[in-house]
């Protein structure tokens, strides 16, 4: 963490795969989606909800994602749970770079998405959105989001990896909050009720 601009984004180059065959890729992707080990990496308030998601009531373990690894080398998913300060930014970048590919990032909570309530004119201490540092795969809004939100985020990452949503939609689930434009994109393409990107 030599002195550097805190806004230096992470290096994201990845070696190409050894076996590049579609069916193998599909199986491996499926396995990756079902075994997303998150890193024990809590920053602030949302980290408590991240813990709550791992606890008995919500139990992320059901989806194979309970193995919280303390070492970035062994984790697949970085859940940025909380405000990223400028002082922390180089560490976040370094942790991301330390994770072996393929890796995914979830921005949990409004602070990680855009600075949230801590973004104001003249602020001097935080990064306004972790996507300025590392490529974010899924955003879970809320302050803090409920553990269900985190689970939905997990499902979306699984969806992003494998191309389909694997779990049924919960009761009272609202498919497209952002409006008809985004709903258009989200229309189930393949006809299956649970495919597509409606898990927003």
């Amino acid at each position: 963490m030599a002195p550097q601009n805190p806004l230096t984004p992470a290096v994201t180059t990845v070696d190409s795969a050894m076996i590049a065959s579609a069916p193998v890729q599909k199986v491996v992707d499926l396995c990756r989606a079902m075994s997303l080990w998150p890193m024990t990496f809590g920053l602030a308030c949302c980290a408590i909800e991240m813990m709550a998601a791992g606890m008995a009531r919500f139990d992320m373990a059901r989806f194979g994602a309970e193995v919280f690894r303390p070492s970035p080398r062994q984790s697949d998913l970085m859940i940025v749970a909380g405000t990223v300060s400028k002082k922390m930014a180089p560490a976040v970048v370094r942790l991301y770079e330390q994770m072996p590919a393929p890796k995914w990032v979830m921005a949990l909570g409004n602070c990680a998405i855009s600075g949230g309530p801590f973004k104001f004119k003249g602020q001097y201490g935080i990064i306004e959105g972790v996507d300025q540092l590392v490529p974010v795969d899924v955003y879970v809004p809320g302050c803090p989001p409920r553990p269900e939100g985190l689970l939905e985020g997990l499902f979306q990452i699984q969806e992003k990896i494998t191309g389909r949503r694997w779990w049924p939609l919960p009761e009272g689930f609202e498919p497209s909050p952002a409006g008809p434009d985004s709903a258009e994109v989200r229309k189930p393409a393949s006809g299956e009720p649970e495919t597509g990107k409606e898990g927003s």
């Binding site: 809590g42 602030a44 308030c45 709550a52 300060s85 400028k86 002082k87 803090p144």
Partner: protein, 582 residues
């Protein structure tokens, strides 16, 4: 003219009592050259340092040193001022080691220096922000100190208060005996060390380089954090190890500095409320409470009894959830994975309950000036009773599974000895202090809200070790249940509304003045200082975080322990990092 007045106040070492107005006990104005002696005197008299606040006014930068006495109901503020062009105070870190961090924090936020400071490095801000002082006011934004505290509020103290005599003593000494050398380039001083003794460090950041000063073959310098499972967030501790023994430990803060104090100055009084839910997200309501109390004191708002009862109930529920999480996380630190799951079961129930009235699970924004945002629903009392009963029934299970467990006991007994004198020097409060055998609890020593109508005990353990702190928290859970049940009984009789009739609205501007309110949080004494110049926004907000002081003694406490014990000590302090970094 006014400037003369304020400096003359200081020269005369006047003591001012305005407790009922601002909640600060007595204020003593003195010349900054005498600060170190005054601090020594305070320590001798048994006062603990609460915090050091700076207030940037047009006369200069005012330093406020808040002290508390554990036995007397006494809160003392020593005030001193330094002109802007010569902003320098003597450091009292030699007397109160806890002041070290407070002073470093102030050096980050204001263009001030502390003379003879042992370690003048940035604390909360990154090292490359050394030239920026975010809380420094622009020339045009500054107001006179007398706009904040109108002259008539100075009530002279004619009593034989200890401080008056202390002030007199100091006054009798000649001023020349305390010369103040102002060295602007004081910051970033590297310790003088022969070049061949310095360990050459090529990699590592500012803090590692600053830390590694002596050369030794068999020492290992280890960075614990900012991402480490046992630092509960993003605390970083730089450790010097000899084998597994910790020779030196230095916490590095600021990885989750969220500018709360700055935000206090750019947001209106109302807009600052949500911040209070995020300073310490585990006991958010205590911060809610402290801020509301301070502003209510400022604006002289009387809160209805029902609102106070609801505040107490929700606060204690929140304390329960905080202690439950601590219990689980501490056991996680000690390597047991299951207790946290059981703790969260109960915690989830409490959070469900709090969510009904507050709308969120942990970052509450429930208390407002003059009451609480909404009344409790009809079945609230019943639900709360059943939940706390369930929890009470489960407490013996906690004891059987963990407290009496041989392995746990061996991990916490006689680990992390913190004695009362250490607490005093560092300003530790809360279970850390009560685990050191000192019966100090803000709820008991300076009761606020309706706590003084309730019947409960303050558990104190005299063991000074991690076990005592553990037991204090376990007993506090039982006491909180008692408080909740009693308050629920009283709640039926109180029907004067959950908020005052004319609750402050969006354009709320309290009169100018300053107020300080302290409440007992799950981690210790939470203090909020609000100064207002009569505008829509607070002129200055200072948050006194208990974890900040509690953590500052870690360096001394961890010396010579094993690495595993250091983890155990960190856990037993019950840290919430965003509260420390603010």
């Amino acid at each position: 003219m006014r400037e003369d007045l304020i400096f003359s106040y200081e020269r005369e070492n006047r003591a001012v009592v305005d407790d009922h107005v601002s909640g600060q006990g007595c204020s003593v104005y003195m010349d900054r050259t005498r600060l170190a002696d005054a601090a020594a005197m305070m320590l001798e008299a048994g006062y603990a340092l609460d915090d050091i606040t700076l207030l940037d006014v047009s006369e200069g930068i005012q330093g406020q040193y808040r002290f508390t006495h554990w036995d007397k109901q006494d809160r003392v503020t020593i005030r001193t001022i330094a002109p802007h062009d010569e902003a320098c105070f003597p450091s009292i870190a030699g007397v109160y080691p806890g002041a070290d961090w407070h002073e470093r924090e102030n050096m980050d936020f204001y263009p001030v220096n502390y003379e003879d400071h042992p370690n003048p490095t940035p604390l909360l801000l990154p090292d490359d922000m050394a030239e920026e002082h975010p809380l420094e006011k622009r020339e045009k934004d500054r107001v006179s100190y007398f706009d904040i505290v109108p002259g008539q509020k100075f009530i002279e103290c004619d009593s034989d208060h200890m401080l008056c005599s202390c002030a007199l003593n100091l006054h009798s000494a000649k001023k020349d005996e305390f010369p103040l050398r102002c060295i602007p380039e004081l910051r970033f001083k590297q310790p003088d060390m022969p070049a061949n003794m310095r360990l050459e460090v090529e990699d590592g950041d500012f803090y590692s380089k600053h830390f590694e000063t002596t050369y030794s073959d068999d020492r290992l310098v280890l960075n614990m954090g900012p991402q480490h499972p046992s630092t509960h967030g993003v605390l970083r501790v730089v450790l010097e190890l000899d084998g597994e023994y910790v020779i030196r430990a230095e916490p590095v803060l600021g990885y989750i500095h969220r500018m709360h104090e700055k935000m206090g100055e750019v947001k209106t009084f109302h807009q600052y409320l949500p911040n209070m839910g995020r300073v310490d997200y585990l006991h958010a309501l205590a911060w809610n409470h402290a801020y509301c109390l301070a502003v209510e004191k400022l604006a002289d708002i009387e809160v209805p009894r029902r609102a106070e009862l609801i505040r107490v109930i929700t606060n204690e529920l929140n304390r329960l959830s905080s202690h439950l999480l601590w219990w689980g996380a501490y056991l996680l630190d000690l390597g047991a994975f299951t207790p946290i799951m059981y703790a969260f079961e109960d915690r989830e129930r409490i959070m469900d309950l709090l969510q009904v009235i507050t709308g969120s699970r942990l970052t509450y924004c429930y208390f407002v000036f003059g009451g609480v945002t909404c009344d409790v629903p009809g079945d609230f009392a019943e639900r709360t009773r059943s939940i706390v009963h369930t929890l009470r029934d489960r407490l013996p299970m906690f004891t059987a599974l963990v407290t009496e467990n041989l392995i746990l006991r061996k991990r916490v007994e006689d680990i992390g000895v913190i004695d009362p004198s250490m607490c005093r020097r560092y300003g530790a409060t809360g279970p850390v202090l009560r685990g050191a055998g000192v019966a100090y609890d803000v709820r008991m020593n300076s009761p606020y809200s309706v706590y003084d109508e309730l019947d409960f005990e303050i558990p104190v353990y005299d063991g000074h070790d991690a076990m005592s702190r553990y037991m204090v928290r376990m007993d506090e859970m039982a006491e909180s249940i008692k408080i909740i049940e009693q308050a629920l009984d009283l709640l039926d009789g109180a029907d004067d509304g959950h908020i005052i009739k004319k609750a402050p609205n969006a354009g709320f501007t309290p009169p100018s003045g300053e107020a300080y309110a302290a409440v007992e949080g799950a981690r210790g004494k939470i203090g909020v200082y609000v100064a207002s110049d009569g505008g829509k926004k607070p002129y200055r907000v200072k948050l006194r975080a208990p974890g900040f002081s509690n953590l500052s003694l870690f360096a001394e406490c961890a010396q010579g322990t094993l690495l595993a014990d250091a983890v155990s000590i960190l856990g037993s302090l019950d840290l919430v990092i965003p509260e420390i970094d603010r």
